[in-house]
């Protein structure tokens, strides 16, 4: 936790330096956040070139507005909020490359016995593909929580919705993944043995 706090404090300090026009600080922030933003964006729009462009759009906005960052939220929350806003704008009017899990045709075959003869690495890859088929509302909660390590309060800040909505979305996302998790081989006997 202390390490997380130190990182958060370091990121706020970078933002203050960026606000004063420090390009070296922008470089440090870029190294830490650009891959995360890319990951967040690419999983929503599936277009690598556009995702790379959006990463720089987000970082350009950070560069221009860092002086206005008031520190009322973590730097990561602020930056991911910008990333989400930019991404939604980019895909507005277009259907995101997602379908509800229940409507995914290829899911039927894999649900038969997804774990058979597969390594844990392959199982995790399968699960990522499954998560990619969730609705964007559910997927972004899962991504922000498990890839970006956000608390539910931070997720609520980024998504601009109540904390209870975040919890409910996570609950439903998990419920949609539950059949897959069961068939992927998670059983009571394996608790604690998968990671």
């Amino acid at each position: 936790m202390d390490s997380a706090r130190e990182r958060a404090a370091e990121e706020v300090a970078w933002l203050h330096r960026i606000g004063n026009g420090d390009k070296a600080a922008l470089g440090l922030l870029y190294q830490r956040f650009a891959p995360r933003i890319f990951r967040f964006v690419i999983r929503m729009m599936k277009d690598q070139a556009k995702a790379e462009e959006l990463v720089n759009d987000v970082m350009m906005e950070v560069w221009k507005n860092a002086a206005n960052f008031e520190g009322r939220s973590a730097a990561s929350t602020w930056i991911l909020g910008i990333a989400r806003f930019r991404t939604l704008n980019a895909v507005r009017g277009k259907k995101l490359d997602t379908v509800e899990l229940s409507q995914a045709p290829e899911a039927v075959d894999e649900q038969q016995d997804a774990s058979q003869g597969k390594s844990h690495e392959q199982l995790r890859s399968l699960l990522r593909q499954t998560i990619a088929r969730l609705s964007d509302e559910h997927r972004e909660v899962v991504e922000l929580t498990f890839f970006h390590g956000c608390s539910y309060k931070e997720v609520a800040d980024i998504l601009q919705c109540p904390e209870n909505t975040v919890k409910t979305r996570m609950y439903h996302a998990k419920a949609k993944l539950k059949p897959w998790l069961t068939n992927l081989g998670l059983a009571e006997t394996e608790v604690g043995g998968l990671t």
């Binding site: 996570m170 998990k174 608790v191």
Partner: protein, 222 residues
């Protein structure tokens, strides 16, 4: 806290972001609860799967991306420098800008602008009129004034007439002798008159004296 609420918090227990009180509550709920432990294991499996960047996913090249960003920033900065270089501005342009900024002129309706300009014009015109020096007719002198500095040449005399004399009669009398008033009346009611510079001065003076309206006539020493 209900079991459902605990279940909702499991994801954030797994990623380590719950506060101390929530964390303790979830740990108490997990204790001796195989179903809850399985649910936690599922969250942890999701977490590891999501956190891992799979071989099938594109990798972001941060170095190249940052290079592009810096190029973009430098381009914008160069463009801004060109934009902020002040162009030579004329005095009239500066005045227009000052008026526009000070009075928000561009937001004033057209009819109001016309009215304001008209009022300003009237005030300026009145100011000019007030400030102009008073013009004095050279041929006249105030009733109690001193003789004008600029006098025509010719013999002069002070004349007084009966107060009952009409001005028209007095003027006729003077015209008959080719005389004209150069100043007056004085405080005692006399005028200074001037005659043509010719040889008939005595005759003119005598003719005036002979008139009943003239009660006083005295030649002024040249």
């Amino acid at each position: 806290m209900s079991e459902h609420k605990m279940d909702e918090l499991l994801a954030w227990y797994a990623n380590g972001t719950l506060d101390d009180a929530e964390q303790r509550q979830v740990e108490a709920w997990l204790d001796n609860n195989p179903e809850a432990q399985l649910a936690l294991a599922e969250h942890e499996f999701i977490q590891h799967s999501v956190a891992e960047v799979g071989a099938e996913e594109p990798v972001f090249n941060a170095e190249a991306g940052f290079g592009k960003l810096m190029a973009q920033i430098e381009t914008e900065e160069a463009a801004n420098e060109i934009d902020i270089q002040p162009a030579p501005v004329s005095l009239a342009e500066q005045l227009r800008n000052w008026i526009a900024q000070t009075f928000a002129w561009h937001r004033t309706p057209a009819f109001a602008r016309v009215a304001m300009v008209s009022q300003l014009g009237i005030v300026l015109a009145l100011g000019v009129v007030v400030m102009l020096p008073n013009e004095q007719a050279e041929d006249y002198q105030v009733l109690s004034g001193t003789p004008p500095a600029m006098l025509a040449s010719g013999p002069q005399a002070d004349i007084g007439v009966d107060p009952k004399t009409y001005i028209g009669q007095f003027q006729t009398l003077l015209r008959q002798q080719d005389a004209k008033i150069v100043s007056g009346p004085t405080a005692i009611g006399t005028y200074r008159i001037q005659f043509p510079d010719d040889a008939q001065l005595e005759a003119r003076m005598a003719a005036l004296k002979a008139n009943q309206a003239v009660i006083y006539l005295q030649r002024v020493a040249p």
